[in-house]
Symmetry: C2
Subunit: 212 residues, 2 copies
C-alpha cells in the first residue's frame, strides 16, 4: 500500500446505505477522493458481513485505498483487509496486533486524551477521535468533545487523528484548524443524494478551498 491519505475516511455503515447497494456508493466516494474505507456492519450476520467485505475488497483493489473492518478481526483476516478499527468495547489493541502482525493497520476510537495515549502506546496506527459534534449515527455516545477536545487529543499523540461525529462540509474547516489529519464520516457521504459531490465538498472544505 502506498502512503495513506487520511483526509477522508468513509465509514461504510450498512445501516446508512438506505436501501442502496453499498459497494456502488463506496466506489463513488473513492472515485471522488476518499482515501480510506471502514466497513461497519453491526446488524449483519457473519456470512453476509464476510461476503460484503469481500465485495468491497474487490471494488477497492484498483484504487490502492485501504479497507478497514470495524470490530471484526476474523472478517478482516478472512477477506484480506488492510486493517481493523477497534472501539473501546472491541478486542484490545495488543491482542489484535498479536494476531494481525505488524503490517496491518489498527485504528482505535477514542473520546479522551487518556484513551488516545493508551491507544498509541498499545500500538494503534491511527485514531478516530469523537464525537466532535452531536451525531445520530451512533448510539450510547460519550460526551461531545468539540474542537477543543480534538485539539487536546491531537497535541497528546503523534498518530494521525481523524475527526468523527457530526462532521459535514460546513464544519470540516474548523476540525482541520483544530489539527485533525482527516475526517471520518458516515451520513455526510452516505446520506447524500450525490455521493461523489458530497465527497468532493468535504475534501475541498477540509483542505481549506472553501465550500463549493
Amino acid at each position: 500500500m502506498d502512503r495513506l491519505d487520511w483526509s477522508l475516511c468513509l465509514v461504510a455503515d450498512t445501516e446508512a446505505a438506505r436501501g442502496r447497494w453499498l459497494p456502488t456508493l463506496v466506489e463513488e466516494a473513492v472515485g471522488a477522493g476518499a482515501g480510506a474505507v471502514q466497513l461497519r456492519a453491526k446488524t449483519l450476520d457473519t456470512k453476509d458481513f464476510f461476503e460484503l467485505a469481500g465485495r468491497l475488497s474487490i471494488v477497492l483493489k484498483p484504487y490502492s485505498v485501504p479497507l478497514i473492518i470495524n470490530d471484526r478481526l476474523d472478517i478482516a483476516m478472512a477477506c484480506g483487509a488492510q486493517g481493523v478499527h477497534l472501539g473501546q468495547r472491541d478486542l484490545p489493541i495488543r491482542t489484535a496486533r498479536a494476531l494481525l502482525g505488524p503490517k496491518k493497520l489498527i485504528g482505535c476510537s477514542v473520546s479522551s486524551v487518556d484513551e488516545a495515549r493508551e491507544a498509541q502506546s498499545a500500538g494503534a496506527d491511527y485514531l478516530g477521535a469523537g464525537p466532535i459534534y452531536f451525531t445520530s449515527s451512533k448510539k450510547d455516545l460519550p460526551k461531545i468533545l468539540g474542537t477543543e477536545g480534538l485539539r487536546a487529543i491531537k497535541s497528546a499523540v503523534r498518530l494521525p487523528v481523524l475527526a468523527v461525529g457530526g462532521i459535514n462540509a460546513a464544519r470540516a474547516g474548523d476540525v482541520a484548524a483544530a489539527g485533525a489529519d482527516g475526517l471520518a464520516v458516515i451520513s455526510a457521504v452516505l446520506g447524500a443524494e450525490d455521493v461523489a459531490a458530497a465527497t468532493k465538498a468535504l475534501l475541498s472544505a477540509f483542505h481549506g478551498q472553501g465550500l463549493p
Copy 2:
C-alpha cells in the same frame, strides 16, 4: 488435548445463564462429566465476549476439556480456544480452517444430509445436527429433523454427530439409539437448578444406564 469425549457438549449460551455466573455453571457441568464446552454469546459486545472466553479458558484448563467458540473466530484465536463452532450463516469452514490451521477443532451446525456432507468435505471435525426436537433456545429454526433425520445424517458422514435441539434426559436414549455420538444442550443443563445433577442425568441416559 487427549482423545475427545463428545457424549455431552455444553453449549454455554450467555442468555441461558439467567443471572447466574456462567463460568461457575460451566465448571459444575464439566466437573460432572461434560466433555466439551461451546461458548455462545450473541448479545455480548466483543470485549465482554473475549473476557468471558478467557475466563472459561482458565476454568477448563485443569479438565482437559476443549473450549469451542460459537461463530467468532477472532475471539477463538484471541483467547487460545481449541476451536470454533460455525453455523450456516457464519464464516465458511474452509476460510476458518485456513486461518486456524489443521490442529484446531471446527464444528458445524447442519440440518440436512446435504449440509452434513458439505461440512465434512469442507473439513469440519464434528457436526451438530438439529433441531432434533422443538426448542425455544434458538430463533429462526429450520424444520425439525426427528431421530429419523439424525439417523440419515449419521449414516451419510464419518464425523462425530451431536444431537442438538430440545434434547433432555428423557430423549437422550432415543438419540443415542439413532446413532448420535453425543448430545449438545443448553437449557437441559443451564436451565436446571442443580447443574451437576442435570449433567449426570443426561450422561447416564445417553449411555443407556436409564434415568436416575
